[in-house]
């Protein structure tokens, strides 16, 4: 039924004003991401400028929510993004595997926050989770939560490795109970990454957690969301599961890199009813 519900919602037909609102909102929800071994300071600077002003020809286009980088590049991003609304997000806890001792994960988290990260994207220890050592998973999230201080903590479940919807739900509940501000599907390094079906399961978990505890947790699908059409489907899922209260960058993010330009292209199409060459959009 999870897949059926998702398939039914995928047939929602979102047009004109409704689509324009979705496209602009999706931009404001984007965590513009670069997580490559070959990332350079220059690339991160480029990406930050892109995030602040996604379309140089149209000042009405909102900035993205955050720029997400590796720990080494947090300082660079923080420098460019200082005094802007765009936040610095850092992956932490030995992303993407999370296969490191807890003290190193905690130290890494303290370091990225000290270097200027407003948000920390941590990974759970999937090995421990699949082995049934939920206590360890919980304790690690709680320790990183503390180390992150006031930073917003996003907990990556890496759903592509969890094997079942039951596990996705269990991991979601565990992460939320341990103090996650957001739960996030994937690192982007494992396939499948974010699917609509696991997103629905996580949204339902967030809803149940909220109704049981009153605490609001956000959702971040990440990895594999490259087109505006997909993004709109995600927003439909969000709208019909958690409602408009959740349709804000404070509660929902897209972890993506190539999505932004497609959103911009679709906005231009809605405005002009023409597709423009990709060369009219900046590539960071």
């Amino acid at each position: 039924m999870v897949e059926e519900r998702v398939a039914a919602l995928a047939t929602r037909s979102i047009k004109r004003e409704a689509k324009m609102w979705a496209l602009r909102t999706a931009i404001s929800m984007t965590d513009l991401t670069t997580l490559e071994g070959m990332d350079t300071k220059e690339k991160v600077r480029q990406l930050c400028h892109k995030g602040i002003r996604p379309d140089p020809t149209d000042a009405s286009i909102p900035s993205v929510a955050a720029v997400c980088v590796y720990p080494n590049l947090v300082g660079t991003a923080a420098e460019v993004l200082e005094d802007t609304s765009v936040r610095v997000a850092a992956v932490s806890t030995y992303f993407p595997s999370g296969q490191a001792p807890l003290d190193l994960k905690v130290a890494e988290t303290r370091r990225v926050v000290a270097d200027g990260a407003d948000e920390v994207d941590m990974v759970i220890d999937r090995g421990a989770f699949l082995a049934g050592d939920y206590v360890k998973v919980f304790a690690e999230v709680a320790a990183v939560r503390e180390a992150a201080g006031d930073a917003c903590l996003k907990v990556i479940l890496e759903t592509g490795e969890l094997g079942s919807y039951d596990n996705v739900r269990r991991a979601s509940m565990l992460a939320m109970a341990a103090g996650a501000d957001f739960i996030k599907t994937s690192t982007g390094k494992v396939s499948p990454a974010a699917t609509p079906a696991v997103t629905l399961v996580m949204l339902e978990s967030i809803r149940d957690f909220y109704s049981n505890t009153g605490r609001v947790v956000g959702m971040k699908p990440a990895g594999g969301i490259g087109s505006a059409k997909q993004a709109i489907r995600w927003l439909v899922l969000l709208n019909e599961t958690l409602g408009v209260e959740w349709m804000t960058p404070r509660r929902f993010r897209f972890g993506a890199s190539s999505l932004l330009n497609d959103l911009l292209m679709q906005i231009r199409w809605l405005e002009t009813e023409r597709y423009q060459s990709p060369d009219y959009f900046t590539r960071a």
């Binding site: 039924m1 999870v2 059926e4 519900r5 039914a8 047939t11 929602r12 037909s13 979102i14 047009k15 004109r16 004003e17 409704a18 689509k19 609102w21 979705a22 909102t25 936040r87 407003d118 201080g149 006031d150 930073a151 917003c152 903590l153 501000d181 339902e204 609001v216 947790v217 956000g218 927003l235 709208n239 019909e240 408009v244 209260e245 349709m247 804000t248 404070r250 509660r251």
Partner: protein
């Protein structure tokens, strides 16, 4: 920004509303003509009765077409045409018969958008369902049965299956084209010829199907369509030239037909009403079960004979489940059936709306608690909001009578034994559903539920290969699969 601030709930103001803009399918695609005559012997023809009636769009009450009403002389003509065609059709090389059915299936597929819009306008169902459920199943039924046409001796080895002859079929308005396909496809594949009477509120798609069948090369007289009301149906099933009657509709009419046919030598299959029990155990994945329940009772506005109209929830999760169900109801989009975002469309007719309204009033009078989500209904047309009843007891009319509308009666149970007892405490026996994470319990329940269909952790799933039909007052005979073929053949037991 501090952590609390980043996640502070946005109170009241400031939260954006996301209204989906209307996304309307083009009504002109239906290609509706001013007058729709009878379809007899391969052509459209004026009714000898001289009578025409108006068919309307139940969502707008707008007149769509004047439709010919078949009187006794027209029924006689149609049965005569079918009789004349029967020898040729039965004697046609089976591979040729299969080919023309395959052609019909392909044409239906090619014209599925037109047919979906046609059924939506004539019947009021949401275009999303017509497009994504009805039409794919219509094509699937023709493809499936076309495949059997030249393999009948393998379906029934050791006997020589022979067609019945002329089949008189009477179908309801809830799935106008799909019910036509369920009836026509197996009848034709097994070498019978057909006189089909569609419901008086939804005659257009069956007439269109007859046209398409002629285009596909079906010989004249093999498929005849004669619109009309109950009288036309009675004339058809009572006609001496009919060898077999297949009826889908209410239990009351089904009983009348059976009485009438007793001793006539005609074969009969009946697919009648239901009061499906949908049983939710406490270990079920509740959000999934909510989806199943919503699908079970609000699909096609609940105008489904196998609708899961009685919800039996285990007491320990009952209040939580009802909360989830209410929340889900608030996201159902009720309105213009042609809007691609509509989930719940119009009620089929004024008369049917009156019946739903009357039963719902009886529920309130008898003391059940009603819940309807806030929703704006259009000014014109026939509408009923999605409705839940809690505090329902077995003796309430809403727990016993088929409402055939978007109305769910919720009861609770404590033990599996009690669930079975309550589920079976009805004269009907068409369909039921069970939701649990425990496989053994599914089998235990399926053994005990008196129903032709038991869905496990799903609901309203159809496939042409899977026999569908009822027990007790929900009828007899099966449609679909090898069992469905047997209903149209002699000599197969």
């Amino acid at each position: 920004m501090a952590r609390q601030d980043a996640l502070a709930p946005r109170s009241g103001t400031g939260a954006p509303m996301w209204e989906y803009r209307e996304s309307r399918e083009n009504p002109a695609l239906a290609g509706i003509r001013d007058r729709s005559g009878l379809w007899i012997n391969g052509e459209e023809t004026e009714p000898l009765s001289g009578r025409w009636f108006s068919t309307i769009d139940p969502a707008t009450e707008e007149h769509l077409s004047m439709v010919a009403e078949a009187g006794p002389a027209d029924v006689d003509r149609a049965v005569g045409a079918a009789r004349e065609a029967v020898a040729g059709w039965a004697a046609m090389p089976v591979a040729e018969r299969a080919k023309s059915l395959f052609r019909l299936a392909r044409l239906v597929q090619e014209r599925s958008r037109e047919l979906a819009v046609l059924d939506t306008r004539d019947g009021g169902k949401p275009i999303r369902e017509a497009r994504d459920v009805d039409l794919p199943l219509v094509a699937a039924h023709f493809f499936y049965h076309a495949g059997w046409a030249d393999k009948l001796e393998y379906a029934f080895p050791g006997v020589e299956p022979r067609p019945m002859g002329v089949v008189g079929q009477v179908i309801p308005w809830n799935f106008p084209l799909l019910m036509a396909a369920w009836k026509v496809a197996p009848a034709l594949a097994t070498g019978n010829t057909v006189v089909l009477k569609p419901a008086e509120t939804t005659p257009l798609s069956a007439l269109r199907l007859a046209e398409i069948a002629a285009e596909a090369g079906l010989p004249p007289g093999v498929l005849n369509v004669i619109p009309g009301a109950g009288e036309t149906g009675a004339d058809l099933v009572g006609h001496r030239g009919v060898d077999k009657v297949a009826f889908t509709g209410s239990t009351q009419v089904g009983k009348e037909i059976r009485r009438r046919l007793a001793g006539s030598g005609k074969a009969l299959t009946l697919e009648l009403g239901g009061k499906g029990a949908h049983v939710i155990f406490d270990d079920a994945p509740l959000d999934q079960a909510v989806e199943g329940v919503v699908n079970g009772i609000f699909f096609n506005q609940g105008q489904v004979c196998c609708a899961g109209s009685r919800l039996l929830v285990q007491e320990s999760v009952a209040s939580e489940f009802v909360d989830r169900l209410r929340r889900r109801l608030s996201t159902l989009r009720v309105g213009d059936p042609l809007d691609k975002n509509t989930d719940v469309g119009a009620i089929n007719s004024a008369a049917h709306l009156e019946r739903i309204t009357e039963l719902v009033e009886s529920g309130q009078e008898e003391g059940a608690l009603i819940y309807q989500p806030p929703c704006e209904l259009p000014d014109r047309g026939f509408w009923f909001p999605p409705t839940l009843f809690t505090d329902v007891s077995q003796s309430h009319r809403i727990a016993r009578e088929e409402i055939f509308g978007p109305v769910l009666s919720i009861l609770t149970f404590r033990t599996p034994g009690e669930a079975v007892e309550r589920a079976n405490n009805t004269p009907y026996g068409l369909a039921s559903g069970v939701w649990t994470s425990k496989g053994s319990r599914i089998l235990w329940m399926a053994d005990r539920l008196a129903a032709g269909v038991v869905w496990a952790n799903t609901y309203n799933k159809f496939d042409p290969a899977s026999p569908f039909g009822g027990v007790r007052e929900s009828g007899f005979g099966r449609e679909g699969g090898r069992h469905g073929l047997a209903a149209y053949l002699r000599g197969v037991g």
